[in-house]
């Protein structure tokens, strides 16, 4: 009880649910981990989420054979995979912390503790934010596990019981109703403190939910998607003029970021997504080519699959030449090959282009506060994604306006090319998919996008080492979602495995 004597404690508890996306425990960069039984450094929510959405797709190669990663790279994972288990447990950890937060902030509890009225006003916003973060994690459960995950709310007290398994339809409906309800309870768009969710964050998640509704529940909800995209855009966001400043140490000042997962070199340290984005893409060779705000070395882990590189425009289709697209300027090619000829793990770092999109430098070129742990915030939701969602939903007959859609896409293209030379005159769905690949590369969207376009499983689209072969091969359709981790299947008799696993 005395944990809540200090009125500040409610904000601190909420802070944990936010921090659950970026740190791995109660000590930075590692220590007192939230999850037990995993390598803590490898257990950050966004890092493992990135593995599932990028490493398993056509974009990223990760050289080290950390637990479970080799299987992800060649799309041969099983229910025993550690990375899958981490993501699953991370998202449920977020849900249970949010549930506890909601229990600790029930009106009767607050009254019992004589919490002052002004604090109670703040707590009402906190509660909406906790529900948003819970909906976000449940959304990830829908996206990654087909929604067939254990479902608990603040009604379920901590113990040793067996939660019931929900399903895609029920979970979809729950997330939708939660988001619609809390969209009105959150602080208005752009009005909240930096790092905290506002109404636009809830709208963006709703837009994503609706864009993918056909995959999740077989329903066409594109018009709802358009509807929420319009609301977000109307809230007054503008596109950051300099693409690269979205991924720098001071990107907290960049335009167009709707909801970030914050990182700080001193206050919010982890071996998480931003840590590997900077350190993992560097080796001594790349590092010596310029300043990346990282210490010597780097650990030479992440390179590009060829398909990702070839999404971009190059003179003569030669990726070793300079692209007019600024988003292709991050490739590091010296001494690197384009193709991945040897099996992905354990092979040379020099196989595949390097990609230094995230750099621990401010827009003025000053290194971040710490040369290991970047200050870069992960732009989880940003305006360009909303523009592209609008365009895609329009193309999928969700309504909207063709000129508007084209305008949004060309705004992105113009930023990328620096002028109108990359602008397009018309849109088609494949172009949208490719543009999403270019614009949102390595930001954790790719697998979901490929699934929505029917290009993830099967053999309509192949990439290096897909299915374990150098030139790629078909993978079965049930790989569109991940298996329920074996550990939880053993622990909870109420769970059924996802189909065909």
């Amino acid at each position: 009880e005395n944990a809540f004597d200090d009125p500040q404690s409610y904000l601190q508890f909420l802070s944990k649910i936010y921090a659950g996306l970026s740190v791995t425990g109660q000590q930075g960069p590692s220590g007192q981990g939230d999850l037990i039984g995993f390598d803590e450094g490898n257990s950050q929510y966004m890092r493992t989420y990135f593995y599932l959405n990028e490493v398993t797709a056509d974009a990223v190669k990760w050289r080290y054979d950390d637990a479970g990663l080799a299987e992800l790279l060649v799309n041969e994972w099983t229910a025993d995979n550690d990375v899958i288990s981490v993501v699953y447990n991370r998202l449920i950890f977020q849900v249970t912390q949010a549930n506890e937060f909601l229990r600790q902030t029930e009106q009767s509890v607050l009254d019992g503790r004589n919490v002052p009225a002004d604090i109670q006003t703040d707590i009402a916003f906190y509660r909406a934010e906790a529900r948003f973060l819970r909906a976000l994690s449940y959304y990830h459960g829908l996206e990654l596990f087909g929604g067939n995950i254990p479902f608990v709310t603040e009604e379920d007290l901590p113990g040793a019981f067996f939660p019931e398994q929900t399903n895609a339809v029920d979970l979809f409906n729950y997330i939708e109703s939660e988001l619609i309800e809390i969209a009105d309870l959150l602080v208005p768009a752009t009005q909240n403190d930096y790092g905290r969710a506002d109404q636009a964050a809830a709208w963006t998640l709703l837009a994503r939910l609706y864009l993918n509704a056909e995959v999740y529940i077989g329903e066409n909800r594109y018009s709802d998607c358009i509807n929420f995209c319009e609301r977000i855009i109307a809230a007054g966001y503008t596109l950051e003029p300099n693409y690269n400043e979205l991924f720098l140490a001071d990107n907290n000042t960049a335009e167009g970021i709707i909801f970030p997962v914050t990182h700080d070199g001193v206050e919010t340290q982890s071996f998480g997504y931003m840590f590997i984005m900077v350190n993992g893409t560097l080796d001594a060779n790349i590092n010596s080519s310029g300043d990346f705000g990282a210490n010597t070395g780097g650990f030479a882990g992440l390179t590009c699959k060829e398909n990702f590189v070839r999404l971009f425009e190059f003179p003569n289709d030669d990726p070793f030449q300079d692209s007019p697209d600024i988003r292709a300027s991050f490739f590091f090619k010296d001494g690197h090959s384009l193709e991945l000829t040897s099996p992905p793990t354990g092979s040379d770092f020099q196989e595949g282009f390097g990609y230094t999109k995230f750099r621990n430098l401010t827009s003025d070129g000053v290194p971040g506060q710490d040369n290991s742990y970047p200050d870069i915030d992960l732009p989880l939701f940003r305006l360009a994604d909303v523009y592209l969602m609008y365009a895609e939903a329009f193309l999928r007959n969700g309504g909207g306006d063709e000129g508007t859609a084209l305008g949004y896409v060309n705004a992105i293209r113009q930023r990328a090319y620096g002028d109108a030379s990359g602008n397009v005159a018309s849109l088609d769905l494949q172009f949208i998919l490719d543009e999403r690949g270019r614009e949102l590369g390595w930001e954790g969207y790719r697998r979901t996008d490929l699934v929505r376009f029917g290009q993830y499983t099967g053999n309509t689209y192949l990439w290096d080492w897909k299915g374990g072969l150098e030139n790629g091969t078909s993978i079965p359709a049930h790989f569109d979602i991940f298996p329920i981790p074996a550990g939880d299947l053993n622990a909870n008799p109420n769970l059924d495995q996802n189909p065909d696993y």
Binding site: D66, N89, D264, N494
Partner: protein, 959 residues
Amino acid sequence: GTVIDQTTGLPLPGASVVIKGTSTGTTTDFDGLYQITANTGDILQFSYVGFSVLELTVDGPTLDAALSEDTQMLDEIVVIGYGTTTKKDATGAVVGVTEEELNQGFIASPQDLLIGKAAGVNITTNGGAPGSGSQIRIRGGSSLDASNDPLIIIDGVPLDSPGLDEQRNSGSRNVFDFVNPNDISSFSILKDASATAIYGSRASNGVIIITTKKGKTGELKFSLNTSASVNTLSNTIGVFSASDYREIIADRFPNRVSDLGSADTNWQEQIFETALGTDTNFSVSGGIMGIPFRASVGYTQQDGILRTEALERTTASLNITPRLFDDKLKIELNARGAYTENNFAETGAIGSALEFDPTQPVFDPTLPAGLFDYYEENGSATTNTVTNPVAQLTLRDNQAIARRFVGNAKFDYNLHFFPDITATLNLGIDKSIGDGTDFQPPTISSQLLEGGRTRNFEQDEENKLMDIYFKYDKDLDKINSRLDFTAGYSYQNFYEDRMSVDLRGDGVGGPLVIKTILESNIQSFFGRFNYAFNDKYLLTLTYRRDGSSRFGGDNRWGNFPAAAFAWNISDENFLKDSETLSNLKLRLGWGITGQQDVLQGTDTQPFLPQFSPSQNGASGQLGGFVTTLRAQPFDANIKWEETTTYNIGLDYGLFNNRISGALELYYRETEDLLSTVNVAAGSNLTNRLPTNIGSLTNKGVEFFLDAAVFKNEDFSWNLGFNFAYNENEVDRLFQTGNEPGTGIPVSGTSLIGIGGDDGAQWHIVGQPTRSYFVFEQVYDENGVPLEGVVRDLNNDGQINDLDRRAYKQAAPLVTLGLNSRFNYKEWDFSFSARANYGNYNYNGIDLNRGNYRNLNIGQDLRNVATSVLRSNFEGTRDEITFSDYYVRDASFIRMDNMTLGYTVDKLWKENTRMRIFSTLQNVFVITDYDGLDPEITNGIDNNIYPRPFTVQVGLSLDF
């Protein structure tokens, strides 16, 4: 005169007769007759094996002596919980180990005195650092994740059993190194529940009671012991020499030849050294104004064989045992303090010494520390490399001071008005203060980037005890019965406050302060009822009710009953006159005990919801940075582990107890075991939670024998032998399922970059705890392992975790001890040897260092173990890491110590004595195991601190 057996009246041939205080003596002839020249008033001492010594004063030309059988062995007092009993009356499995039987040699830790001395008590030191702690297991362990340590009680004060974290902070290496081994009078080991249940919820892993030496009234006796020892490295790991290494690099990595150095360094020789130690103790005992006392001081100084390792300890103790009111009130005051300074060497240097390139020099005057290390041209330290082990040792300064005081005041009051009742009050305190500083300067290359690192820590611990109990004793001669009844109340409070402050040299992140306060309390009611009929049939009933602050609600209080029955068969008429069988007693025992230290001292209120604040670097950003508060997982229903023990014992004595011992059979089943398992996701606040769901069984046989093989005036030979077999099996681990073969990995048993929680050892249903969970290695026709080739055990065409199976165990199945002591005139020679059988180690040194990949894995070249020549392994992967190739038989026979002594009696007057002695410790080990040492706590062989070979010479003087 004639010497006869008092009972039978028969003459005793070969009995010894000596004039007291001289070396003049003789022996009786075949008819028991003797002749000796003595003066009137001389005292003659008559002795015969198996009989009590008799002293008679010469008052005439003939002096006959009637010796009585020495029944002392059966009257020997054995200390039990809240009282004492005799060997003859004991109903439980209790082993007393007296001072004479304890190990000799350079012993800095009390528990080492007991190694190999008692059946079913397995003590493994945590490596060769001076004064290092030990793992003690009595009859195997009864827990999985909770503590398996026995309860240790010194002069009636139960000690807190600290987890490893606590030990690290307390500044000491060892929970009870505050006790000077020279002050110990005896150990009493309670093994079965009928003996331990009186300690209730802390007794599942057995109880060790230590009694310290007390003074006796009379003239002052002084005793001085001093010794010096030389410790040397007894074994090293085979790695490549500089010249062999150059050849290998030239052969395998020709492009890296230019990175080789020109030196020839044996890094293991560089980090180990011959270490000296001294140990001096002085005690005085006797009576002052009729009050018996004993006081002692001790000083121990011991360097480790790993450079910079050192221990320096001063101890002092005082016991006063006055008796007041016609001996109605017995008071026992014990005070004991220790001041220990430790220098902890960086043990990581042992691993670095195996890895560091042997062609590189130790020194390089151009570098910051004057020692060679890898630096980049711009002056930054190379990352992903290994650090010069000499730099690790000599530059890091990790020192701590531990101060500890343990004292108690015990009052036994025999009621004036009701002499059958004795009331006892025992008040105790255990206070320790430890602090230390661990400084790593930036001249250690791995610390350069952060500008060095300093860690300060301190720990303050205070445990208080109050016992109050009454004993009612009554002989009911009319019905040939004796009974006694003990009942009491015990209160014990544990308080601990520890803090550490970590600070990077460059100040980044600010100081990281971790402060923990742990407090717990246990209150108990206990009782024991003993009933003896005809001295032949003995019944003991005990009961304890414990309340622990560690548990809530209905689980707060636990009940721990026990019952035992013993039958002195040899007192029955049909055996009474047996000349061979002098003692035969059957004991049957049953009881329930508990284990309350379920989270090993990390959380004293695991049943309550808790919120944990974040430390530095783990804030959330909500506008500004906000410290976080995490809702901690908790189990509102957490409770005691509960062990039910059945014991059958047979005590025997042959030939007037010249040979004695016992045979024990036991079966122990532990339920509600705390098992840290995956809880169903969503049901609690994290993915894994310790909760009471497991069960396991231990069953075993123990046998021991003590024999006075030979005994006469000049020569005697005593032999002790013990044997124990223990079989352990996990029955249940999970909330659901529990199919045989399913299990959970044991944390901390993963050795190589596997990440995750997989380990070489697992707890597996149907298997012993800490079974290895491994693949079956495939070998070629020459017996060489094929790299990465393992059997597809389930024949599904692929190799994955389903092809791993439980294989062997870490704990020994059989332990054996052999102790021998010869005395010939002034000479004595003793040895103590031990064997373990059925224990397997996972050779992590071979795994981690026995492959060619490691030659060139980081930024710099590294040495590897020569065991690679046998396997020729190129790299590592799961099939290799978890191959049974590394699980190796570590059965061994070890000669723990051998001592030769020479005693001079009557040095300058009566009752003065001098003994000079020399002891060899860790004399030899016979084993097939190919690692450094087959004896590894918990079986994972990695970076072990070698146990030194020790030669000690010493002198003791009693006057």
